[in-house]
């Protein structure tokens, strides 16, 4: 089966992921994307999401908290703000963060609280949600 090299780098942890893979499914600001080998050249910005990486029939998940993705026919490079494998994620902390972010978004929406930056709150919620997804916790 054809493969494509996927490299994920972050500013603080170096190269988090570097492997030949079969398919990558991720979410950019323009929507969900599936990248197969020999994809056309592409540059896009990613939103916080749980990326699905298909290798040898199996599938692994990787959390990215936004960043940029460049695709060339034989290589995908992701410059992520941060990236975490399921092992890196502390489930209790992720759950707590999710609850907190959810409350903030709700408060901001219902009361129109000026102290809460709704954009930031929603980004935090999206991150928390993606983290939980990577960990395999169902989120409504």
């Amino acid at each position: 089966m054809a493969t494509i090299l996927l490299e994920v780098a972050t500013p603080d942890k170096g190269e988090v992921f570097a492997k030949d893979i079969n398919m990558l499914i991720c979410r950019s600001i323009a929507g969900e994307l599936g990248i197969l080998p020999k994809h056309a050249r592409l540059l896009t910005e990613l939103v916080p999401n749980a990326m699905r990486i298909k290798v040898d029939g199996g599938e692994t998940l990787l959390f990215v908290s936004g960043g940029f993705m460049e695709v060339t026919p034989d290589k995908i490079t992701i410059l992520a703000d941060s990236a975490e494998t399921p092992d890196d994620i502390d489930i209790d902390r992720a759950k707590a963060a999710y609850k907190r972010a959810e409350e903030r978004v709700n408060v901001a929406k219902s009361k129109g609280d000026a102290a809460i930056d709704i954009g930031r709150a929603e980004a935090a919620l999206a991150r928390a949600k993606a983290r939980l997804l990577v960990k395999g916790v169902p989120v409504d």
Partner: protein, 373 residues
């Protein structure tokens, strides 16, 4: 004749200093390990950002896509863009001293770059990545874009006022001057020149150094030099971008210390803006392949380019932190060694003095006994 108590006191004080320098050495050592780790894990990200940026910029230029970020300096100059802007320098040094010549090396390099007058070409750091252009290299081009008429007149006045004080150099005049030789004086006491310069300093040492010399510091960051954080690099980037977009600055140069190895850290200066150097132009000629940009080219560029800038600044901060700590490590272990040597010499001296005293006493006793007989 030195007395014993005096020497004892000196030995004790040297030993105390040695304890302190030794402790500082160990602290620097452990922090250095963390800083080096941080630097090493940052490097892949920086290189990848650079690669992507080269490909993308090359491709976009190949497609003759127009965007302010994609123009080289020559093109910006031709369009007189930001022509009234100032030069911005970002100087990254340390918060604390006791790091040998770390800070002064940075300042030397900074003054070299900032006060460059187009004449001496001795000290340019040559062995660098090919895409990192230097303020110095661009001097002629910059002198051309600055409103040469006004400036040089002012500077000529300044020169006649300061007489031989000002270093005057003739360089090829560009722009509207019709190729005449324009003397340029660039000394830190040259008020006109300082007017055209802005500084962002990282590290308390850098701030005090440049403040004393009358530079215009628009922002300084303290307390982060040993453990840089990305958010500060982002803050600096936002500030720089804002000023660049509003035409207040024409050129951004970053001066920091590049960490090569634990024993070799060299000051380095790189041009941050304009982003595109001649090198990219060449790359653009070779890469004609089509890219897909999502959601669209302008949005993406507006987001990606500041990111590249912040990445570079953050990288430089990490380089600087590792360099600072390794310099401090070296300085402190040298100090400890010196103290050790000094204690040895003082001990020898102490024993000699003590022995001399004993010999003296014996002589006196023997002399006294002889006199009694």
């Amino acid at each position: 004749m030195a007395n014993l108590q005096h020497i004892r006191r000196r030995i004790r004080s040297v030993k105390n200093i040695q304890k302190i320098t030794n402790a500082m050495d160990m602290i620097a050592r452990s922090r250095f390990n963390a800083a080096r780790e941080a630097l090493l894990s940052n490097i892949p990200y920086v290189t990848k950002t650079k690669e992507i940026m080269r490909r993308v910029v090359g491709q976009m230029r190949g497609q003759e896509f127009e965007h302010p970020f994609l123009k080289t300096r020559d093109e910006l100059i031709a369009e007189q863009q930001n022509a009234n802007g100032k030069f911005l320098f970002i100087v990254i040094a340390s918060d604390k001293g006791l790091a040998g010549s770390f800070s002064s090396n940075v300042f030397k390099s900074a003054h070299d770059t900032i006060e460059y007058d187009g004449t001496d070409d001795g000290t340019s750091t040559g062995d660098d990545d090919e895409d990192e252009n230097f303020h110095k290299k661009n001097f002629d081009a910059l002198a051309a874009v600055k409103p040469v008429g006004q400036r040089s007149q002012k500077q000529q006045r300044q020169m006649s006022a300061t007489g031989g004080m000002a270093r005057a150099g003739a360089h090829k005049g560009g722009g509207g001057q019709g190729g005449g030789n324009i003397p340029v004086a660039r000394e830190y006491h040259d008020a006109d020149y300082i007017d055209g310069i802005e500084l962002i300093t990282v590290g308390r040492k850098a701030t005090t150094h440049f403040k004393q010399r009358g530079y215009n510091i628009i922002k300084s960051y303290h307390g982060i030099s040993e453990r840089p954080q990305y958010k500060y690099a982002k803050e600096i980037t936002d500030l720089v971008m804002e000023r660049y977009a509003s035409g207040e600055i024409i050129d951004v140069t970053l001066i920091y210390t590049r960490f090569k190895s634990a024993i070799s850290c060299v000051p380095d200066d790189v041009t941050l803006l304009p982003l595109v150097t001649d090198d990219f132009v060449k790359a653009g000629d070779t890469l004609k392949e089509e890219y897909i940009y999502e959601p669209d080219t302008v949005t993406l560029l507006d987001k990606f380019m500041p990111r590249r800038l912040a990445t570079r600044i953050y990288g430089a901060m990490l380089h600087s932190a590792a360099s600072e700590l390794s310099s401090r490590m070296n300085a402190m272990s040298n100090a400890t060694d010196n103290a050790q040597e000094l204690v040895g010499r003082l001990n020898l001296f102490y024993n000699k003095v003590r022995q001399a005293g004993i010999t003296n006493e014996i002589n006196e006793i023997v002399g006294g006994a002889n006199a009694l007989e």
